[in-house]
């Protein structure tokens, strides 16, 4: 009883062990749910996988039929005194079991692509990562300096932000056709979509973060004889750097969410091409594996960047 009442202490601190256990639980719980639905037949399993067609002329071994249809056909066969079909309860084809997806993680990399000139999975993944990388780098090269300037000088901020505020409501994919017309059908328009999707949010977020810098620090620097131009390099940038870095991590996550739309523009490519191909052949285990790979790459990058932040900014207060 004591333990449970403690769980609901508002913002009660957690020990390192509790944090670890709960963190593992965050992944284990959805996995447990998925396993239950996949492996416990009476939980869902709305389909029947045919093992013996019996007298039903259109049943094939390994075919999935709805449980209702299977029951009706079994009744028909019994009436006509024909051989009864047999089968086991199964889930629809679009929900493979965890072990099938796990196997697909390996086999997807080792399976030769169906066409000889088509890319392997790792090539598709690398292509996607390249698109994200260039999209994010180009966006940041413009967005971060512009955001810092907007947040530091009100004249620049006021001149840019109203229009950017308007532009960020325009859905990036809407520029797909335009991007193809201007940049061709290969990587150009895809990178452009990621840039359009990221840049405008980026300027506004970076500008806001820059504004949060304690003005007293700027005043202190001025009374120490810092000229107005040098305030930018001596106070604004070093003072906001850890927060800008945090913003960049969040924005990188947003860039990933534009990936699939971007890759559908022009010639389909990268991980999106892999996913649509596999879905067409109903290899949903591969589809899930590919989607999960995006998640792992994204989370992995973020964890590495978070670790690096501690090296870059030793002065940044822990726990912020």
């Amino acid at each position: 009883m004591y333990a449970i009442s403690r769980w609901f202490g508002v913002r009660a601190p957690l020990s390192a062990r509790e944090r670890l256990v709960l963190g593992i639980g965050a992944f284990a719980l959805p996995l447990l749910f998925w396993s239950l639905v996949s492996y416990v037949p009476f939980l869902w399993h709305p389909m029947v996988r045919i093992s013996e067609p019996g007298g039903v002329d259109y049943f094939q071994p390994d075919m999935l039929v709805e449980a209702g249809v299977f029951a009706a056909e079994t009744g028909n066969m019994r009436q006509q005194n024909l051989a009864l079909p047999a089968g086991v309860p199964a889930n629809p084809v679009y929900l493979p079991a965890p072990h099938e997806v796990l196997r697909a993680f390996y086999t997807a990399f080792t399976t030769r692509p169906p066409q000889r000139d088509a890319p392997w999975l790792h090539e598709s993944l690398l292509h996607s990562i390249r698109i994200i990388f260039w999209g994010f780098v180009i966006s940041s090269l413009i967005g971060v300096p512009l955001g810092v300037l907007c947040g530091t000088y009100n004249v620049i901020g006021r001149l840019n932000e109203p229009f950017i505020e308007f532009f960020r409501y325009l859905p990036a994919p809407a520029f797909g056709a335009l991007a193809v017309a201007i940049l061709g059908i290969y990587d150009g328009p895809k990178i452009a979509i990621i840039v359009i999707g990221t840049l405008f949010q980026q300027v506004l977020i970076i500008a806001n973060t820059t504004r949060k810098l304690d003005f007293a620090l700027l005043e202190a620097a001025m009374t120490l004889g810092t000229s107005r131009l040098r305030l930018l390099t001596r106070v604004v940038i070093p003072g906001t750097l850890p927060d800008l870095y945090r913003d960049q991590r969040i924005l990188l996550g947003w860039a990933w969410t534009y990936l699939i739309v971007a890759e559908l523009i022009g010639t389909s490519s990268g991980i999106t091409w892999f996913i649509t191909q596999q879905a067409r052949y109903q290899h949903f285990d591969n589809v899930y594996a590919a989607i999960l790979m995006i998640g792992f790459i994204g989370l992995g990058t973020d964890l590495i960047l978070a670790r690096l932040a501690r090296v870059f900014f030793p002065w940044d207060r822990p726990g912020r």
């Binding site: 304690d214 007293a216 620090l217 005043e219 202190a220 620097a221 001025m222 009374t223 120490l224 004889g225 810092t226 040098r230 001596r234 106070v235 070093p238 003072g239 750097l241 900014f313 030793p314 002065w315 940044d316 207060r317």
Partner: protein, 306 residues
């Protein structure tokens, strides 16, 4: 508590000075004027029209003087020091430093703020180096910063980051960071306001030590009357609505100062005078007085705490 207005002051008048103190003040006033204000004023444009924050401030601060500024909230004491620092523009009169008008902040007027304004991304030593780094170059600034850190007893924290320091230590470093620039005057805006009473008393002694040993003139804002009397040669008393100079008091408490003097007759005389000036009924107090608690007994009649 005694009402200072009702009871006639016991002990000496706050204007009575011993010969030694009078001689000190004569010497002080013979020194050159570092900072002067002439009819200094500030008017804000607010929603309800023009608001006078401060007007007609005439002040002459002499070299190596320690001047404290006190006043009720809203008297514009922060506005005054920020105008002297050049962080806020004045709308009337002049601020003259060594006879030259002040426009905008500069390294000739060092400032220590109430909030902690050490740069969190720099170590203690790099914070102290911040000013001279651009003028003297890195290595000379580093040597100078080392000297200053030893002077304020923070030598072994040279490589610590500000978030690792206590409030008192942060303000020590902030003082060193301002003084390393060799400013003509040090402006302090309630620098010990956020510290606990014990640390505050230590910092006051520490500040007097520095002031005694360094050629520096200090203007120190506080809302703590004892702190003002303890530190100051002269206390500038402001009043609110509109902010104006009410009186410039010469503190008759002899130097060197020590905590024992807090109960000396001269100290108490100034204290009574300040109390009567600061706690005069004002419009603002009137608003507070309108709140009349109507407490009824909510406990058992036998359950007494007094």
């Amino acid at each position: 508590m005694m009402d200072p207005l009702a009871s006639p002051p016991a002990g000496p008048d706050y204007r009575t000075q011993s010969p030694a103190v009078r001689e000190r003040f004569d010497r002080l006033k013979a020194r050159e004027v570092i900072l002067e204000t002439r009819e200094l004023g500030k008017t804000f444009i607010a929603a309800q029209g023009e608001v006078v924050a401060l007007r007609g401030v005439n002040l002459r601060v002499h070299r190596r003087e320690f001047l404290c500024v006190i006043g009720p909230s809203g008297c514009g004491k922060s506005t005054l020091i920020r105008m002297l620092a050049g962080l806020e523009t004045h709308t009337a009169g002049d601020v003259l430093l060594d006879g030259k008008p002040v426009n905008g902040p500069g390294r000739d007027r060092g400032m220590v703020f109430q909030g902690y304004t050490l740069f969190p991304w720099l170590t203690v030593k790099r914070n102290v180096m911040f000013g001279p780094e651009t003028t003297l170059g890195r290595s000379a600034a580093e040597r100078l910063a080392g000297t200053w850190l030893d002077l304020i007893g923070m030598g072994k924290f040279a490589n610590a980051y500000p978030h690792q320091l206590s409030g008192g230590m942060k303000q020590r470093v902030a003082i060193a960071r301002a003084l390393i620039n060799q400013p003509r005057i040090l402006l302090m805006d309630e620098p010990f306001g956020a510290l606990d009473a014990q640390t505050r008393a230590k910092m006051q002694m520490h500040l007097l030590d520095i002031w005694k040993n360094v050629d520096i003139t200090v203007i120190f804002i506080t809302h703590d009357l004892d702190e003002a009397i303890f530190l100051a040669d002269r206390v500038l008393v402001l009043k609110a609505h509109p902010g104006e100079v009410q009186e410039l008091i010469e503190v008759p408490v002899p130097r060197p100062r020590s905590p024992d003097q807090l109960t000396s007759p001269e100290f108490l005389a100034v204290r009574r005078r300040l109390d009567s000036l600061i706690h005069q009924p004002t419009a603002e107090d009137g608003e507070d007085d309108a709140i009349k608690p109507q407490l009824i007994r909510l406990t058992n009649v036998a359950d007494n705490v007094e």
